[in-house]
Symmetry: C3
Subunit: 475 residues, 3 copies
């Protein structure tokens, strides 16, 4: 098991290892071509899945890092609809302090991992909250905040959704304190005369003051200072601010999951759980897909689902009706051969499957109406934090599984639509006994192998996941 | 009467026969130049009126068609304000079935003609409704719908307003079922392994299943199946869904008209009539202008009026203050001569009249604040379905007729504004006894001919409508 | 005092005299270079402050003028966020009448100076209101309005915020009456046949009617007509329209100021004061900064503050984090020398100070989150009308003065952030005893001079405002 794991890590460390499934190995091409994959990756022509290369670093030091995903429309012409949202990822080392800043953007924080605290200066006073794994907190644009990682040995990881209130799609950071480099206090940019007058302090004193400032955004802090700051932070459940309840963090993982079975859990929070999400028209969810399992094919009726993989590996398939755009230039010939029931692509309507490997740090977007399925690798649970934006009246609809919406078709409509007897339609649409979290392709493959004689033998193509895993496992 | 009618049909069959009135025949140019008109049409430089050439066909078969108007900003630089609205027109033959689909757009359907039924799959269940002429129904983005035309001899015609929830101005159709060509099920785009697992069905079964699928979006259906589907559909008035009243269709024509006289009727529905219009900020109206009559010049204070001509013919005049833009290159010389009270165009502020013939299928837009008048031909009533978008707090204001808002000017203001005694202003602004629906120019022309000696004789130019009709009637 | 005043007037009459403080005279360059300043002005590369050259004139006659600020995104790439707002400034001579018009935009009027009246035609009737200094009135898109200046010797000045409802960022004026040139009635653009029918008036009568029309937008009016119009206008407090209270003007200056001390007053009105501001998501404020004083450095958390200087002079400093954009090309070398505690600009994060002289007619924008300070000249009070847009949940936060939000930092956070003992941080952040309105740099400079021996003597650079004033005063 050692070697395949290493191999997997190697592969996944690329992070951006996204590829178009349309070129997956068919039975004509048993030798999986890694080089070709890397070319796809460079081409970066996957319109919905983004890896490390799509991020920019705001901060990158020994004490931690802050990276921001490039604006969605820059990454993909198909994501104009979420032009005014940004994704940001913060990671700090144990016992560190993130200096005070404010943004010209609203944020939703989701604590992926670790133990920390956050202080917010707004409405003329300070609010401080302990942060734990699963906490959601909304930070208002213009609130001055600072954070600590209070753990002695664990990183603090926070995934954020940003919604700019200034220029569309652009976020600016304003440092209250700091000397230069990463962090420079905005105070230093006022003219010295104005600053003297505003602060009523002598110039030599100001020079001395600013000369002593640190220049990092994330700094190592003595344990006793961290402890002192943490002590003044309240835990959500029983803080000293009963009158502003709604502003405290909400813990998603303490909530009852919306769906749960042995193959996975889905936790969801909306404005009814956490009032602060209301004006942002957003929802936060956490999906944990057990190894080898999948989240059944679904659509979101109205929302864009922006997903951040926080742990594990797997892959996603998104069905896209867009193809005029230039993001897809791969030939589909092999694909055709592998799936002989397809018609030639030259005529009529056509959807394209976009699929990508996922690993920690991957971001993918499932636009409204686009059928999507997510599969965990057989090695690890796949854990995903999702921000669903434009969430009002959104409905999560499954198009496979026991709760398949299409089983609601009238009998006659089934026959007319699918052109076969209703009984056969039901056989296909209602063959699945489970719902929401299902056995994944590979898992099922194995069951199938065990259950049945391989009647078709070498005649049919090697399944996608199997082909991938062959490489990984060094077959 | 036969010949002129044929002639009219011929003309109108061009559909896109829009022209700028600034070049209409004056008495200097009695021979109406049809060729020139066709050039205008090709130039397509009318910024507010669109014909057949501005549509794209999604479906076009023996069983029916679906056409979508190109995005407004592509059609006209002056319509950026409605960039996120689209117009769609569906027409199906008797006894047909429109296969299940969902869109990444909200829709408002208006049933122009025919008898059908619609089923909507959402919130985990199915709702089915009979559709009749005048019905308005809102379909939520992501709801899976299918339709039948249940008539044995009549087409079903539906005009739709679409409001994309995904990418601005773009609408995508997702077919649940279908083989290829027009309709291809999105199921077929998932990888075969994933599909096997999701549906828990064997691969050979899936191949067989998809191989049998039809490839049309609109299909001829046996009468008994149509009848079966229709039987499970409720009529608005008394359906089995009393608890979700608001989602049923609302019949606009069963409502009391807002205005009505012998010259026309105006029916209007807003969120107070049909709750489902609320979040769309839209209003639907139906205007029937009797032959030879006109809808008095009006402005909408806030809304864009998007009008679809569903029957009859006539013309529209829209006054536009925009002229820097390049859509108008016609010389205005003739115009000047015909209307000697005009000043030379080189100086100062100037409005431009945009006028166009209208016939079934024409779409025109009256932007907020733009004075607009609509005239029915003397041959047929002109019937128009309008979607008014950004309708909140909109007011329909008439600037001619008995309810002319300008008659509210103070006496001194009248004199100061118009530079003539208030009595003369009233003579002009209050000369019209009727309101909303008035006698059209030609109608009035005739009355005038009967009433008065033609004092001005051949001295004045031939009126616009008369000139047009001369051609049509082959005088 | 005469000569310096003249000099100041001369300077300020340029209006657009905005400059980047980064190039202000240091002690290395005592001879202040006016020519260079004019180049900056021409370069027009100040992204937040706009003068006369950024306006376009709609009307400019002996009786008055109407000028509109160009669309913000055309003026600055950093103002995309307020693309759909426009600023308009109206000035009319005594005893004048502004002819009836409607716009395809909502407006908020603020009466800067003078005595007038406004009539609004909407919802089928007329409303008339007296206008006085400090009045705010909202005019709905599509409402037909006319105005009078009823004073015999005073101008009527109105600053307006416009919010287009048609095409984004574009405003169109529709004149009900008028002959040509500046004002041309839209009636004249309908075809003569249609107009005859609509108004039920004979063509010769129409020709005569339109031939008599005036062609100015603002016209001199006989005193008795002005008086007659004014008499039918109500004063806000007790008009004949008790049932539509909210539509009357609201007087901002009659309200209790939000902040007030000997150095200035701040008056603010939001939807709670004036219901009509609600759907526009806007707020109006009036700031009067006493000569020599300043408004303490602040940020708006969410709103864009669009400020119109209505009287006096001074300067503004805005701290901008944006610098990729091309608006700043000045070298910062002198600046570096003058402020030795600055680090070289080549590395890391950096803010840019944008500063500009302000005088009557200047417009500046403080975007959300951007630290900003405003200073009055020592000659005159600086009076500013502000429209704050996207105002919902906005908070005005001060980052200097007694209510400095940063004094809320925990003690340990202060030390960690600023890298010096908390005591020293407090000395700097809490050195100022006053709040909101403070002594300006020059004022404080003088106090300092009086208070202390000039220990640093010629060693330190000459302060900014002093350098400017040297030029002005002809030292």
């Amino acid at each position: 098991m050692k070697k395949p794991e290493l191999c997997l890590l190697l592969l996944l460390s690329l992070l951006t290892f996204s590829f178009l499934s349309t070129s997956t190995a068919s039975h004509h091409d048993q030798s999986y071509d890694l080089r070709e994959k890397q070319e796809w990756q460079k081409g970066g022509n996957n319109p919905y899945v983004f890896g490390e290369e799509s991020f920019e670093y705001l901060v990158r030091s020994e004490q931690g890092k802050v990276k921001v995903l490039k604006p969605f429309p820059e990454l993909s012409p198909l994501l104009q609809g979420i032009a005014n949202y940004r994704i940001d990822y913060l990671e700090t080392e144990p016992l560190t302090f993130v200096v005070p800043t404010h943004l010209d953007a609203d944020s939703i924080f989701y604590v992926v991992e670790g133990e920390g605290a956050i202080a917010l200066l707004h409405e003329g006073s300070r609010e401080s909250h302990i942060l734990e794994k699963g906490d959601i907190i909304r930070v208002w644009a213009g609130s001055i905040i600072y954070l600590i990682n209070k753990s002695k040995n664990q990183k603090l990881k926070v995934a954020k959704l940003l919604q700019p209130v200034g220029n569309p799609g652009r976020v600016q950071v304003f440092y209250s304190a700091g000397g230069d480099q990463e962090a420079e206090s905005y105070y230093q940019s006022f003219s010295i005369e104005l600053l003297e007058a505003a602060l009523n302090t002598r110039r030599d004193r100001l020079h001395q003051f600013f000369a002593s400032q640190r220049s990092e955004a994330i700094i190592k802090a003595p344990e006793e200072k961290i402890r002192a700051i943490a002590q003044h932070s309240s835990r959500s459940e029983s803080g000293p601010w009963p009158f502003i309840r709604s502003k405290r963090p909400f813990n998603l993982l303490n909530k009852q999951p919306s769906y749960k079975n042995r193959r996975g859990q889905l936790y969801e929070a909306d404005k009814n759980d956490y009032d602060e999400l209301k004006d942002l028209n957003a929802r936060v969810s956490y999906t944990n897909i057990s190894r080898g399992s999948m989240l059944a094919p679904f659509i979101n009726t109205r929302a864009f689902k922006i997903a951040v993989v926080v742990k594990g590996s797997g892959y996603v398939e998104i069905i896209s009706p867009e193809e005029k755009d230039n993001w897809l230039r791969q030939s589909r010939r092999e694909h055709k051969e592998a799936e002989p029931w397809r018609q030639p692509e030259e005529t009529g309507r056509r959807y394209t499957r976009v699929s990508s490997l996922l690993s920690e740090g991957s971001v993918f977007v499932s636009p409204p109406g686009h059928p999507t399925a997510i599969v965990a690798s057989k090695e690890q649970n796949l854990q995903i934090v999702c921000f669903e934006v434009r969430a009002e009246n959104n409905e999560l609809v499954f198009i496979a599984g026991k709760n398949n919406i299409l089983s609601e078709l009238q009998e006659e409509a089934k026959e007319l639509a699918f052109g076969v007897p209703a009984k056969m339609v039901d056989e296909v649409l209602r063959g699945q006994e489970e719902e929401v979290f299902l056995a994944g392709p590979r898992e099922r493959e194995r069951e199938r192998e065990r259950e049945t004689e391989r009647e078709e033998g070498g005649k049919h193509e090697k399944p996608l996941m199997e082909s991938i895993m062959e490489v990984v496992e060094g077959f």
